[in-house]
């Protein structure tokens, strides 16, 4: 039961770091990594929820996580592909809205 205080706090901290990087970082690769951070934190939260039920460990959140990992992998692959296209077309790894007047990233 002590795990259920510690692990959600850690997972929410990781989620907050992911939100920070997702919103404030201009680099697209870091944005994708932030998405992965957030997904991992949710997985950690589900794991801690499954350890809450005693005595047998609840296997249903584990099943959720197995499905979610597959979805996250495909989402990451698609996002990386989009980032690569943006790099091919514009020659830079940030969106055009994220640059200032001199053409530098914010």
């Amino acid at each position: 039961m002590a795990d259920f205080v510690f692990l959600p706090l850690v997972s929410m901290g990781v989620f907050t770091i992911g939100v920070y990087a997702l919103i404030l970082d201009t680099d697209l690769l870091r944005k994708i990594m932030a998405l992965n951070f957030m997904a991992s934190s949710v997985f950690l939260l589900l794991i801690s929820i499954s350890s809450r039920s005693q005595p047998a460990v609840d296997a249903i959140p584990h099943g959720f996580i197995l499905v979610a990992i597959v979805i996250m992998v495909s989402l990451t692959a698609l996002a990386l592909m989009l980032a690569r296209r943006i790099y091919q077309i514009t020659g830079q790894l940030y969106l055009l809205e994220d640059e200032n007047e001199t053409g530098e990233p914010l």
């Binding site: 259920f4 205080v5 959600p8 706090l9 929410m12 901290g13 989620f15 907050t16 939100v19 920070y20 404030l24 939260l45 039920s53 047998a56 609840d58 296997a59 249903i60 584990h62 099943g63 197995l66 499905v67 990992i69 597959v70 979805i71 992998v73 495909s74 989402l75 692959a77 698609l78 592909m81 989009l82 296209r85 091919q88 077309i89």
Partner: protein, 219 residues
């Protein structure tokens, strides 16, 4: 105090409010759900002749979840290929894979490790909760490892064979799922084996294509 540090403090404040809100939402979550799914699952576990509860959940109780996540993988492949072929820009990149890991002896050791891993998964997979995802991922690793040496050569072509192999996993799974739903039968063991095989093929190929599919632009 500059504007930058004020902004930083404001951001940190907002983030800690978010963190505290999320943590309180989780920690004060209601303890007793209205339906105890765990108990229901453990009661139904005897009907599935599977020892591991996670395998039982994935194969028997929530197999449509797997179908949908597999189709998610497939949609990602379709999206990636669409982005590839939308505007053909020829990338002139020289890939240098002549790292120490790619020498002959380390490659041999790594291949042996892969083979041992596959054998272990096949041996213990029934009793542990090791399923098609893991086997597919290891197979994709092996295929990637073999292809990596020839990475500068022309890549997987956009031919009908590749498309058939890619879509066969989802096609087989969806056919089985719809026919089972329509006919009202239970999943038999041979059907489960067939779906697992199709999932393994789809996952291995899609993970490989996520990494390797640089189509040959000269054709």
């Amino acid at each position: 105090m500059s504007i930058y540090s004020v902004k930083l403090i404001f951001i940190i404040l907002l983030l800690s409010i978010l963190e505290l809100g999320l943590a309180s939402a989780v920690l004060f979550m209601p303890d007793a759900p209205t339906i105890n799914l765990t108990e229901v699952m453990h009661e139904q576990l005897a009907t599935t002749n599977m020892t591991n509860s996670l395998s039982a959940i994935i194969v028997h109780f929530r197999s449509y979840d797997i179908l949908l996540s597999i189709s998610c993988l497939f949609i990602a492949i379709v999206g990636i290929w669409t982005i590839f072929y939308s505007t053909p820009i020829i990338e002139k990149t020289e890939y240098d894979y002549d790292t120490p890991l790619m020498q002959d002896f380390p490659r041999l050791i790594l291949l042996v490790i892969f083979v041992v891993t596959i054998a272990y998964i096949l041996w213990r997979g029934a009793e542990l909760a090791i399923i098609a995802f893991h086997i597919g991922a290891v197979l994709a690793g092996i295929a990637l490892f073999i292809r990596l040496k020839q990475a500068t050569k022309p890549q997987i072509k956009n031919c009908i064979f590749v498309r058939l192999v890619l879509s066969s996993g989802l096609l087989v799974f969806a056919t089985i799922a719809f026919s089972v739903t329509a006919a009202g039968y239970e999943f038999s063991n041979s059907l489960i084996l067939l779906t697992e095989l199709s999932i393994i093929i789809l996952i291995a190929f899609s993970l490989l294509i996520f990494f390797m599919a640089r189509p040959n632009m000269n054709n």
